[in-house]
């Protein structure tokens, strides 16, 4: 039971940094950049895409941070 609990906890912890990346990708797909000739995006669509971009790139920065932390832990940097 203890092991199961910790396995679940580990899965959740490992998944956590990917959540903003996934959310960012979903929002960017939902609010794609305006194509040529298409009507201009509404303020809500613009905000949605902006939030998607923020989540995606902050998430990627977070993952890079984890890579650095792991390298530090391994004594590489």
């Amino acid at each position: 039971m203890t092991d199961l609990y910790y396995i679940l906890e580990t899965i959740l912890l490992v998944a956590a940094p990917f959540v903003p990346v996934a959310a960012g990708v979903i929002l960017r797909r939902k609010f794609p950049a305006a194509a040529e000739g298409a009507p201009p995006p509404t303020p809500g669509q613009k905000a949605g895409r902006l939030v998607g971009n923020l989540l995606l790139w902050c998430g990627i920065a977070g993952l890079l941070f984890i890579v650095i932390v792991v390298l530090n832990f391994k004594g590489k940097i």
Binding site: Y6, E9, T10, L13, A16, K76
Partner: protein, 458 residues
């Protein structure tokens, strides 16, 4: 009234007689019964079959020996449960066999016996690992509850020493530790030690490149009158007509203290006293300097290097709360600051809305709890024991613990992984600070304590 007194006296005497003759039940908590078990005199079944009188005799016979044995085992256990130095680690790794551990289980307790057995197993496996492949930061962290920082330092250098000895045995030129600056030292090595003779050694100082190994041909022509021996100057001429002093070329300012290494090897101890600031690369030098200082003279001390929960490393050396407090007790000036500039040298603290701090917390839990916990489980350590050990260790607060040992001083550490831009691969080469002894800017969440209580960062 007199009748009642007589009746009571008779009743008490009868009760005493009955209790003297009554059988004594098997009691595992009494030292006498532990003694019987250890010596194999009786087990519970055999004991119950003994007549009451014999039981009484047996208990009286072993009472003193049992108490002595109990005191001896408890004393040994108290010694073995402290942090071991390198010598003790080797001793106990060999000496703590099943028989010894059984005695601890029996006389001290099963939890204590289990803990000691685990300690011996971890230390034994790390001793083997240290000799075979060297130990990593995570291994040092696993050893922190069991060994003194000095012993961990020694283990960390075991692999290098073993490799060196092997290479010397094989006649391979020894190399220094793998930093750029120490690699340059290899240039002074004039072949294997066995090939170094007095001539070559003197060449090291005179700067002569002549090896003296080439055969000198003494042909008849060369020995004609007025002729010169090959390589010799005119017989009466001095070796040099004028001795000219050529000053060494000035170091290129840009290349001073620069290194082209891609990765950082920065660590050190910076000591700010009333007499000025000094930095040390070796912890032994820093420790010696601190010990010589008068009481109350340290205004600030910064330990810079890799950190982990409960431990600060400085190159090959390391400090835990005990060793840091012992070193600095009485040496700190009023309001003096002890700074552990290493990752995770304070506990994670409370909840946060800062995503970077959150990611650091996640990484700390994964690296210092999940990873070692599952490693222990894979090694067959019981879940409860692995849980207890790592739940205790992953969030250890080195700064707080040290502040309780150095009264009055402000002790700071990092709640997070500290991101030092100057340590990043490539950046360190650009800045040329591969062997910096101070961290410069650190992106991390700092926490400071005074006498165990959190105080604002000074």
């Amino acid at each position: 009234m007199r009748t009642i007194k007589i009746f009571l006296t008779l009743f008490m005497a009868a009760a005493g007689a009955v209790s003297a003759a009554a059988a004594v039940p098997w009691d595992e908590d009494r030292p006498e019964f532990k003694f019987f078990q250890e010596k194999g005199h009786y087990d519970e079944e055999a004991w119950d079959k003994l007549p009451a009188e014999e039981q009484d005799n047996a208990l009286k016979t072993v009472k003193e020996a049992a108490l002595e044995r109990q005191a001896a085992v408890r004393k040994d256990y108290a010694a073995a449960s402290r942090k071991w130095d390198a010598q003790q680690a080797r001793y106990y790794a060999d000496a703590l066999n099943n028989r010894e551990l059984k005695a601890v289980y029996l006389w001290v307790g099963s939890a204590e016996g289990h803990e000691l057995a685990h300690k011996a197993t971890v230390v034994r496996s790390m001793l083997d690992k240290a000799a075979a492949e060297g130990i990593k930061d995570s291994d040092a962290q696993a050893l922190a509850p069991y060994l003194t920082p000095e012993a961990i330092t020694q283990l960390r250098s075991m692999k290098f020493a073993a490799d060196l000895a092997q290479k010397q045995k094989a006649g391979i030129k020894a190399k220094g530790p793998g930093s750029q600056s120490t690699a340059k030292l290899d240039k002074f090595a004039a072949g294997a030690a066995s090939k170094m003779d007095a001539g070559k050694l003197s060449n090291l100082y005179t700067g002569s490149k002549a090896s003296g190994d080439a055969a000198v041909e003494l042909s008849a022509g060369a020995l004609k009158a007025g002729g010169k021996l090959p390589g010799s100057a005119a017989p009466n001429a001095t070796a040099a007509k004028t001795v000219k002093y050529i000053p060494p070329a000035a170091l290129d300012e840009a290349n001073k203290a620069k290194s082209t290494a891609l990765t950082s090897d920065a660590y050190g101890v910076t000591l700010e006293t009333t007499e000025g600031t000094k930095t040390f690369r070796k912890t032994a030098d820093a420790d010696a300097a601190i010990k010589k200082l008068p009481p109350g003279s340290v205004k600030k001390i910064t330990f810079y290097g890799h950190g982990s929960p409960g431990m600060q490393m400085v190159g090959e050396g390391s400090y835990d709360s005990g060793s840091a407090a012992e070193l600095l007790k009485g040496k700190m000036a009023k309001g003096g600051v002890i700074q552990f500039a290493g990752c995770n040298t304070a506990s994670i603290g409370g909840a946060t809305l800062n995503p970077a701090v959150g990611i650091s917390m996640v990484a700390r839990r994964l690296l210092y709890f999940s990873l070692p916990y599952f490693q222990d489980r894979a090694d067959g350590v019981p879940a409860a024991q692995a849980k207890e050990q790592w739940e205790k260790g992953w969030n250890a607060d080195l700064a707080q613990e040290t502040s309780m040992g150095v009264k009055g001083a402000i002790v700071c550490g990092y709640r997070t992984f500290g991101l030092v831009p100057g340590r990043l691969p490539g950046v360190t080469a650009l800045l040329g600070n591969q062997e910096a002894t101070t961290p410069g800017y650190v992106a991390g969440k700092k926490a400071c304590y005074q006498d165990g209580k959190e105080v604002p960062v000074p």
